[in-house]
Symmetry: C2
């Protein structure tokens, strides 16, 4: 049976999780604990040497990178539920939206998330404990991000990320004003990958995502939250409890 290693249903981990739930594909879920840095443990780095979730194990094959996993599930495990438009143009539009999440939207939201939540986690460690954690991280850029989270991200970086978030939610809202779904006239991986980042932003980013400024974005997230597969996923897969920065 397929095995998915992930955190709870948010951000990159949500992408393959929701894809599997929507497709109705059976899988065995393994939830890692980010608070104990389990994704940097030796046992998990034997599965994904980059120490990153999600990772899908399919027989003797390991597939990494959340967006790639989603397309792999469509390629290798098609089900009655198709999450890619059948026409090439719709599929290209879907890929432009998933690529945009991976190259732009997820990064700005992620930095603010790290600033707010990861900082606490790592500030509670002694210098020695922290250095041991950093030594276990295989990706150089991730080491830098953990250090920044502990020291505090520079204010100009946080300001720039907030500018990008404002641009991103406006871009989504404008497109969703004229389109029920993001690409190809159907619920697709474009919606799943963007929803994985945008869901719940009316709590964490209420000054940018609200009924007055982004009504179409909120219509779309509400509509997705009503889908049976989404409800089932949230009911069955626990979300991490994060404590905001003091």
């Amino acid at each position: 049976m397929l095995k998915l290693y992930s955190f709870g249903p948010a951000a990159n981990s949500m992408k393959p999780l929701l894809t599997l739930y929507e497709k109705g594909t059976a899988f065995e879920g393994h939830r890692l604990n980010p608070a104990t840095f389990e994704h940097h443990s030796d046992w998990f780095k034997a599965i994904n040497p980059r120490g990153q979730v999600p990772a899908l194990v399919d027989g003797d094959k390991v597939i990494t990178e959340s967006t790639v996993i989603c397309e792999y599930l469509e390629d290798e495990h098609p089900s009655a539920v198709a999450l890619r438009p059948a026409d090439s143009y719709g599929r290209a539009q879907m890929r432009i939206w998933t690529k945009w999440v991976d190259e732009y939207f997820c990064w700005c939201v992620s930095t603010i998330g790290w600033h707010r939540y990861v900082g606490n986690m790592v500030k509670a460690l002694s210098d020695e404990e922290f250095e041991a954690k950093v030594a276990a991280i295989p990706v150089v850029e991730q080491k830098v991000k953990w250090r920044r989270a502990r020291e505090g991200f520079p204010q100009d970086m946080l300001d720039e990320e907030m500018r990008k978030i404002a641009f991103s939610v406006k871009r989504l809202n404008d497109h969703l004003a004229d389109n029920e779904w993001l690409a190809g006239g159907m619920f697709s991986l474009a919606d799943i990958c963007n929803f994985a980042i945008a869901n719940g932003m009316h709590y964490g980013f209420a000054e940018l995502v609200n009924e007055a400024d982004t009504p179409h974005l909120l219509r779309w997230t509400a509509q997705i939250n009503e889908r049976p597969a989404v409800k089932k996923m949230f009911a069955e897969v626990p979300m991490e409890k994060l404590r905001p920065q003091d």
Copy 2:
């Protein structure tokens, strides 16, 4: 007939160009002149509002984003030459490599390229001319990059990009030591998209890409340069002549 708007055969423009040549798909090529900022002209922004090449026009449809165009060509215009592995796992590996170009490898090489070549182009302009050019650029992050090219990129940014380039060519070289091609045991879009960035680096980055340090990378670029489609592309599509920074 398909129309491709692009610069000469390098970087992102080379990806769909070489894909079309390899597939033997007929197309009409429109080469834009980067030296006159033709990609920011109103006529081209009517085709791609982001003012970026390449862009493919297929009947009444416009497809943008170089990697997305390559997959679109495989989806919509299959030919006797397949550039995607037939098996899902090989295809996933191909996508991890094309994604890595778009998110990592192309950016570090691009910054150094801008530092060396674009600086000259924009330093020759008066302040007024330069501001008019910047006003025509639709993407905020691109405006910032043009300003940095004129003012000079900060040294710590250049150092960090060089570190990433060294990491990138080592990663390619290590993988190519044990593999003829990057993914799926065949020449694929993974090779095309990486070759588009890596070709010629033994000139511009000779301290990193050379027979002693990256023999497998050089074996692979030489092998690709011997392909009939690659020779035909370089013979038919002129390359821009760039003058290095003084």
